[in-house]
Subunit: 622 residues, 2 copies
Amino acid sequence: MFQGGWFGKLLRINLTDQTSREEEIPEELLKKYLGGAALGSKILYDELAPGIDPLGEENKLLYTTGPLTGTDVPCASRLNIATKSPLTGTVTNSLSGGHFPVELKWTGYDIIVIEGRAKKPVYVVIKEGRVSFKSAEKLWGLNTVDTQVLIKENLKDLNVRISCIGPAGENQSMIAAIINEVRAAGRKGVGAVMGSKNLKAVVVRGTQKVPITDEKRFKAGVRGVLEGLKASPMAYPVFSKVGSVSAAEPVSAVGCFPSNNWQNDKEVDWVEKIGAAGLAESAQSNNSCYRCPVSCSQVRMAKKGKYAGISTEGPEFETVYSLGSNVGVTDSAAVIAADRLCDELGLDTISAGVCISMAMELVQRGLLTDEDGLDLRFGNDNAVMRMLRDLAYRQGQMGSLFADGTKRAVKILGENTAMYAMQVKGLELPAYDVRGFKAHGLNFATSYTGADHNKGYANQEVFGMPVPYPVERLELKGKGILTKFNQDFCGLFDTVTFCEFPASFMLDSFQKLVAQLISGATGLDFTEQEMWDVGERLNNLCRMFNVREGFSRKDDTLPERLMTEPLKNGLSKGEKISREDLDFMLDEYYEARQWDSNGIPTPEKLTALGLEDTIKDLPQKA
Amino acid sequence: MFQGGWFGKLLRINLTDQTSREEEIPEELLKKYLGGAALGSKILYDELAPGIDPLGEENKLLYTTGPLTGTDVPCASRLNIATKSPLTGTVTNSLSGGHFPVELKWTGYDIIVIEGRAKKPVYVVIKEGRVSFKSAEKLWGLNTVDTQVLIKENLKDLNVRISCIGPAGENQSMIAAIINEVRAAGRKGVGAVMGSKNLKAVVVRGTQKVPITDEKRFKAGVRGVLEGLKASPMAYPVFSKVGSVSAAEPVSAVGCFPSNNWQNDKEVDWVEKIGAAGLAESAQSNNSCYRCPVSCSQVRMAKKGKYAGISTEGPEFETVYSLGSNVGVTDSAAVIAADRLCDELGLDTISAGVCISMAMELVQRGLLTDEDGLDLRFGNDNAVMRMLRDLAYRQGQMGSLFADGTKRAVKILGENTAMYAMQVKGLELPAYDVRGFKAHGLNFATSYTGADHNKGYANQEVFGMPVPYPVERLELKGKGILTKFNQDFCGLFDTVTFCEFPASFMLDSFQKLVAQLISGATGLDFTEQEMWDVGERLNNLCRMFNVREGFSRKDDTLPERLMTEPLKNGLSKGEKISREDLDFMLDEYYEARQWDSNGIPTPEKLTALGLEDTIKDLPQKA
């Protein structure tokens, strides 16, 4: 029996009748799925009937930690939110950092399963072994910053850590995030699920130390992480100083930084305007997650002008795209202000920005009349600020059209607008113009949760990081196997839980280090290969969840624009991913995954991964 | 020797050389000045040389508590900030509530004296008997909300309480406030003094209980307060439910709610628009100060539109005037947003609003060209939001002109604009059109710190509260003695420290209750008369501070407009306070105070109050 890493306990909270109960997590499940994304997905697979409404009472919202969360290993204060996404209809895992994740773990529960729906707004407090349900009627409507302040005052306990939704989640906007401090489990509408349950916040205060069974082995792993970080040319030299926005430079250099809703029709030096250079004058300080020596989160602040004094943790690289270049905004202060507003409203910055950019392009093309008078021109930051609020409140014409993302906007506006909806499976695209980054493209098309860069990030294309195969970003061949590698790689850090950035900086040693760390923590023996298996198992399990929901090869696609309009400028000029290109990559990918040509896992593969239980859910052959 | 109420200790902090030392406060000083405003003023009187620059290194910033602060008596979580005001050049006391005041007291110090000037931005932490100086360079520029969040994270102590400045204080705007949580020690530029010292924040965590000598007597006093609150028709029925904004109705009813920079030229139902009625739909919750059963602080939130989701504690009545009616804004959501912005920037809402209204009137009259393109029309809330930021940053034309208040704007713009500067001694006027409230007018003219309603509030004129004399608001006669009564009354609650609102609800019993409470706390015997003496001593001492600075009858005046332009509408139509009216009231007031006809205290009076030390500072007779 293991003695560390996990507590082996799950807390099941029922909001409908306001009860809770503690459950043991079977040791076999822990060993096989570890925690975080994989264990969360497994529970969802077993407990959610196919076809349920993600915003209905039957959906569940899981807070899942892993065997490293809350231990002394750096970079492991990560929380996974698992649920069925209203935005994509797929299973999803959405992660965030900060201090909440470790505090949650220290309550003594590895996993919180939230079920049902409260009749009136509530928040849940988990503290000193007790679960209490508190009215959130007086908190309903408050932004995420004020919510956290007031809960602390109301509880007369300033030491709790809080995960909550803002107005966007309350109004069940399908692009709503869940926020702790200012960290977002941002994507795929997890905030809407929380809102649909009338749950304003989860409040935790933990007092239990995570036990470590084999201290020596564990500490060796910790040293390995610290050495890995030290050796990385990215961690301290770049991420500590500039954060994720450093990616703008290499992405821009090859002409793949999307702008003006992916029209990329104007040659603007985005790095200079709103990238690391443009944001340099706004540098204020760092604010690290619990026990993170890298501290990539940059506190930036507009120093003058109409946004003077507005600060944010960020904007991250993705936001510099979504609320900057992609809406044509060249003023870094405006990006800072929009980023902060999204955090306060509880909106996913990526999806929100892409909704706004789509509205702007439709107005530009005369396909939509701006009845709200927002003046939706690319580059108009006032319109961005206004429309963000409208999205969170579903107010006005634009709020009504876009609060549930671009895919649903097309449903309302008509198929002639589909060309301008930059989404896959309903999830709006992150900041990589995949016409010049083929592996990113294949990942966007196949990730189990739509166009999610974090679920299979192709570091190799952007930063030239090592993999066992040669990688050329414009080459189609080899991208199937590379994408499988990346997706399985990402599956592990989402599962154990460890931050994506440092994990990626140790691309060649991460699985080995994790095996060492969780072996040390639990006293069980994990191999490097088993770590790869965990990632692959997660991807197959999630694929099966989606297959059961009706997903198949037809859904593994890219926006029409990327398949038909070549890039107009820069080093990737002329590039696109045609239908044929995508099909070529999909074939290779499915083969690498040992899935059939329709993208359905084979019984053999499922059996090999210990997923025999899911074979019954394979589509019946005609 | 006393054993309770006070700790009898003062902490002296020198920012120049970053040292601190503990001093005993002589028992005689404590008995005579008690604490808070009176003891703060006494220390300033003794330690500040006449004529010093309030923003120079020689000025001192005092955090002073009283014998009730941090005890179990309700409504006593109040902090007094004492300093020489840059805005008025007078001595000043500025108070705020919340949780910071009790936490400060619990550090074991009754008073913190902050001296000198740090070379670079710092913040000071007082915790566990230690004082530490921390760099605030990475906090400089942050708004007051973010500052508090980041300090807690940086210190890894979420339990500290923080008093800080925002950008307005940093930029030494003379209308800058000091903020703890969202409570402001708002007026008279105390935030600029803090900024001039390069001091971003004072951070405290207290662990010492305030000793109570005679528990029985003290508890009887506590019961008296609770009974007094219960008996009051204002406390629970009105203030708990609506807060200070309830005053809008009686003030408006008699036509004395100032609008459009006191032009009062449009008949608008302000109560309906932005008063209790107008704000009703924004009601969210309450957030009480430590141990306050009234909990008057109303959390309100804009529910829809362009300010949706912006919440504030408030707006208080004064702000409904200054950022509402007085700038012509009829949208309660805009008032909420402006109130919140002031808290974040660390601006006094009253002075800021009156600066904006003056700018608007100058533009209206063609006396000023709006070069910033703010569109400074009365009622334009966008212009208000923009100009607030410009004031805090001294940016643009309006920021340069008005960041130091209306009196200094006149100095730059010329005497022809003086008519539109609604200020006394440099302090912008609060929400009582004194043309119809004569005692308020006399208090504005004579208060030791300019047009400060809190230093001599005439409850009797607004709410008909009892005094030993008949009061008719439009009558001049009797207002001298009434104003002395009110100013001495207010002097006590600022001193012991107790919140103004509940004190006012117990206008006929407050002095007696306080005598009982501090007798119980300290074990000394205080009489009701001695409590009146404390208030009178404070007012005489502060008058002498100002006399020493050159103030006299000539400075006890009102804005020209109020003396020459009669009210145009409502129940007080035709009323003004002419030069002769004011002189009549001043004569009566000086006589009631036993001051000479030039408003200078007599040696006899000073002697009777135990202020013999100040006689040397009386002007030499010609």
